[in-house]
């Protein structure tokens, strides 16, 4: 009996991510959700700019590459032109929370029926570890070598909390992938985000706290521990909005 194998929606292409980067885990969780819902044939993914810019090579469904930050806008167009398709975007924090803030906020406010997987690793990975909008106060990066100074650079953006103030979104949850228990919870959240779209419920965003061992300057093991010690206290895990569940009460 096979207990675990690569999901069909994930391609055989070797991933270009650094050793120990949790992008691979999140890719797999998305592919598992697509497999379990049986929607591979009608799924269209939107790849971002950032470390996951080549995500189109790693999924077996149709994929489109969007300009930096514009993935929710492209997803809106695809979903409105092809309402039967299942459209998801896969974006990092530099893409979704920085240059793409407008697209993110307005697609949420319009309650577009799309699924967004938001990977938050508190740093710009692909460009070499510069400070991102989600970089923690005091965190050392290439452009904040003495730690993020909040007097000068302001405070991090908590995307789930920010979007939860809007009436539009259907489902917002923050999860992490730094241990087996959190990965199982992340899988449930990602599957639910896709299920919501299949049922036509509307905008679903899952924020996944991820690690960046290379740019944080740590071993993969230490990076996972750093998530527990620093990231999760600042970005608490949990469901920030679930409109259908609230209405059912």
């Amino acid at each position: 009996m096979v207990v675990f194998d690569k999901p069909h929606a994930l391609s055989d292409m070797p991933m270009h991510y650094c050793p120990g980067c949790t992008h691979g885990i999140i890719h797999r969780l998305v592919a598992e959700a697509i497999d379990e819902l049986g929607i591979e044939g009608r799924t269209i993914g939107i790849a971002p700019v950032g470390c996951s810019v080549m995500a189109y090579d790693y999924f077996n469904c149709d994929m489109i590459e969007a300009a930096h930050g514009r993935a929710p806008a492209v997803a809106t167009g695809v979903k409105r032109a092809l309402p039967d398709s299942i459209v998801f975007t896969y974006q990092g924090d530099g893409d979704l929370a920085s240059i793409g803030t407008a697209e993110t906020v307005h697609s949420a406010a319009r309650n577009e029926n799309i699924t967004i997987i938001f990977v938050n690793n508190a740093i710009y990975g692909m460009t070499g570890g510069q400070m991102a909008p989600t970089t923690l106060p005091g965190q050392v990066t290439q452009t904040s070598p003495y730690g993020r100074d909040t007097n000068h650079c302001g405070f991090p953006v908590r995307v789930c909390e920010m979007l939860s103030t809007l009436d539009g979104p259907e489902y917002l949850e923050r999860v992490a992938v730094n241990n087996v228990k959190n990965i199982k919870n992340a899988k449930k959240a990602i599957k639910k985000a896709f299920q919501n779209q299949v049922e036509g419920k509307g905008f679903s965003l899952v924020e996944v706290i991820s690690s960046c061992p290379t740019n944080w300057g740590m071993t993969p093991q230490k990076a996972l521990k750093w998530i527990d010690d620093n990231m999760i206290p600042y970005y608490p895990l949990g469901v920030y909005k679930d409109r259908s569940a609230k209405e059912a009460e």
């Binding site: 009996m1 096979v2 207990v3 675990f4 194998d5 690569k6 994930l10 070797p14 991933m15 991510y17 650094c18 050793p19 120990g20 980067c21 949790t22 992008h23 691979g24 885990i25 797999r28 241990n179 087996v180 990965i183 199982k184 061992p213 993969p220 093991q221 996972l224």
Partner: protein
């Protein structure tokens, strides 16, 4: 007994699977190098494997297949 299969050439030697294994079944092969130039993971103690698939759950590159 559970059976583990590795796509060794895709392994990047991050060691996350080694740390998460409750039975210490896995180790990085310090004497071997794969096509990417990493020390790949191998099962040093496969008879102890309980097939929990924690290693495969944690693997970022999806190289481990677990059968029971």
């Amino acid at each position: 007994m559970a059976k583990l299969t590795f796509k060794t050439d895709k392994c990047k030697g991050c060691g996350l699977c080694v740390d998460v294994c409750p039975k210490k079944v896995l180790a990085l092969a310090t004497e071997k190098i794969n096509i990417k130039g990493h020390h790949p993971v191998e099962a040093v103690n496969e008879s102890e494997c309980i097939g929990c698939a924690f290693c495969a759950t944690m693997c970022p590159d999806c190289i481990i297949k677990v059968e029971r």
